[in-house]
Symmetry: C2
Subunit: 352 residues, 2 copies
């Protein structure tokens, strides 16, 4: 097992943990190394569930901050071991999100007497189906491990605070028709043609851009799949359109579904899956203080992230971590070294 | 090998040949029986190519009539052996088209001194991919076997003459987009939404119903397949719509393609496959005479049939056979016995 040095340089630590492969489902080696390293610090209580590791202080502080990050990565694309390229660290996991994990490990080891009590959550299975998500499993198995007053998810946020996240809901719209031989098409009713009315709605739709807790979100309503047709000589009796709606966190899942049922009134609509968004919570004093310290205007998080799992527990949560989120999952993912150092510095200052 | 009695009752003969299974690709047993039975008649020259059998007279008549029918059927659906149900013969192949084949066999054996020289063509692989079609193979291998002045295809036509056939052309319309994460959809361009413009054209299209050689055809323009979408969280960069156009026989394939390129101007259009129609040719004296004898108003053939292969050889061709063409390929296919007898009677009268 690779031994991790939690007191040395955060960039070296990033590199070391990047070079322990941990594609989703294969996080054990890294989780073992993280757990063993944290056990060396008597100010931390270390807990484990599957390949999730939780470390926390119990200093009786009035507030508790939870800092969470996932250990897994998407599959390796011939981009390990890491390569240092000037001031850029390149390789699988660098930006999503082992630089963030390295910062968390350094904070956990170094902050023996933090201003707030701290809980560090390192979890598995973030890059795969939501039902496998390690943070979701902790919510089910040990919600008390996640208790806190404010949460930071260490996902890359380009050096600023990204508040909350938009929700997502996918619906399936079924458009019926009547099959007939294509040589006598007027004896049937073409379901694909009828689905044109669904596309009419999508083309005419103007998404909202509401301001929630001071941040402007940007919704979206898009067909993400369409399928129809039986054979080259048959009028299709069925066309299915899958639509994904991204909705701002001023609306919950029920509100988003009601909106879609209104938009697609008259069509057969079925909800395929949905996940709520999370309000940015930047009106909370602890959040305000943190945003001021970061010193950059906060941005809305448009994609869905695990902050919404904290929101569901009633804990305001933000995204804050090194690197450009748009590089996540790309073969060329990388993170600028100064951003790793700055993230560590901001958090250390805030929590000391 | 079942021995066929070509001089007995045409309904018994229909039943006998229905009970020799001959699903496409498996026509040999029936082709062998047909060939052997025809060899017994010295007024016929019998030829064979694969599982196609051709029998013809050479009496030096000024005109030659070709009568063609296929030996194969679609797969058996627990509907053999045939069952006689009052005046209805039920079972696979009864209507499509062994009743027609039985009529042809009786004519071939019985008309030793016909008014016109006769060529009977029994062929294989009609119910499968066009490139396997036995009549198409004869056109390639032995076009001289098919020479004639007028052709009758014995496909079911509900007791009347169905003239010509409509052509068919399939095109693929490719609608591009720009992929993006669904959480930031405005950074992409949704190909499925853009395909709405293709469906607009289809929904607004008014098909022609032109009169050709006295018969009113009815065209059609239909999407037969649509597909698009990459993943539930990605704006699709491609949507493909397959469109089938059925066109009246006053237009050839090139004309139909030009029409589609005009209708879908601005879209990326690719021709997938096409087959020409066939003019009904009912202005020919020999056809007029036959229609008068049948005594019912002729109808346009809307589906594509092998008459177009004769048309391509410059031979006017019609469909005339017992039974309802809409029953073809159904598990409950059947043919009324009186129609078999009447078809034999009409053709015998005309050709004697």
């Amino acid at each position: 097992m690779t031994s991790l040095d939690l007191t040395g340089d955060v960039v070296d630590l990033t590199r070391t943990i990047c070079d322990i492969p941990s594609v989703s489902g294969d996080e054990k080696a890294l989780a073992d190394a993280v757990e063993a390293a944290l056990h060396a610090y008597p100010h931390l209580e270390v807990l484990r569930d599957g390949d999730a590791v939780v470390a926390r202080t119990s200093l009786g502080r009035p507030a508790r901050v939870v800092i969470a990050g996932h250990l897994d990565t998407v599959p390796i694309a011939d981009n390990l071991p890491c390569v240092m390229d000037g001031d850029i660290l390149r390789g699988r996991g660098t930006v999503d999100m082992k630089a963030g994990v390295a910062v968390m490990l350094r904070l956990a080891a170094g902050l023996t007497a933090p201003r707030h009590d701290l809980t560090f959550v390192f979890y598995d299975h973030e890059e795969v189906a939501a039902k496998l998500n390690g943070l979701g499993r902790l919510v089910r198995n040990h919600p008390e491990w996640l208790a806190g007053d404010f949460a930071i998810l260490g996902e890359p946020s380009d050096g600023t605070v990204e508040g909350g996240c938009q929700g997502t809901i996918r619906i399936k719209i079924t458009v019926p028709g009547v099959a007939a031989h294509a040589a006598r098409s007027w004896k049937g009713s073409n379901a694909i043609h009828s689905a044109g009315a669904v596309l009419d709605v999508l083309r005419a739709y103007v998404p909202r851009q509401p301001v929630v807790d001071g941040l402007r979100y940007h919704e979206g309503l898009n067909a993400v799949k369409i399928e129809g047709g039986i054979a080259g000589n048959v009028i299709p009796d069925l066309c299915t359109v899958y639509v994904n709606h991204r909705f701002a966190p001023d609306r919950d899942v029920a509100g988003a579904e009601a909106h879609l049922r209104e938009v697609f009134a008259g069509f057969e609509v079925e909800v395929v899956d949905a996940a709520p968004g999370a309000r940015p919570g930047l009106d909370q004093p602890v959040a305000k203080e943190f945003v001021e310290l970061v010193g950059l205007p906060p941005a809305p998080k448009l994609g869905w992230t695990d902050v919404s799992r904290f929101a569901a527990l009633g804990i305001p949560a933000i995204n804050f971590g090194p690197g450009d989120p748009l590089l996540a999952h790309t073969d060329g993912e990388h993170v600028p070294v100064p951003e790793i150092r700055r993230t560590l510095e901001v958090l250390t200052t805030w929590l000391s």
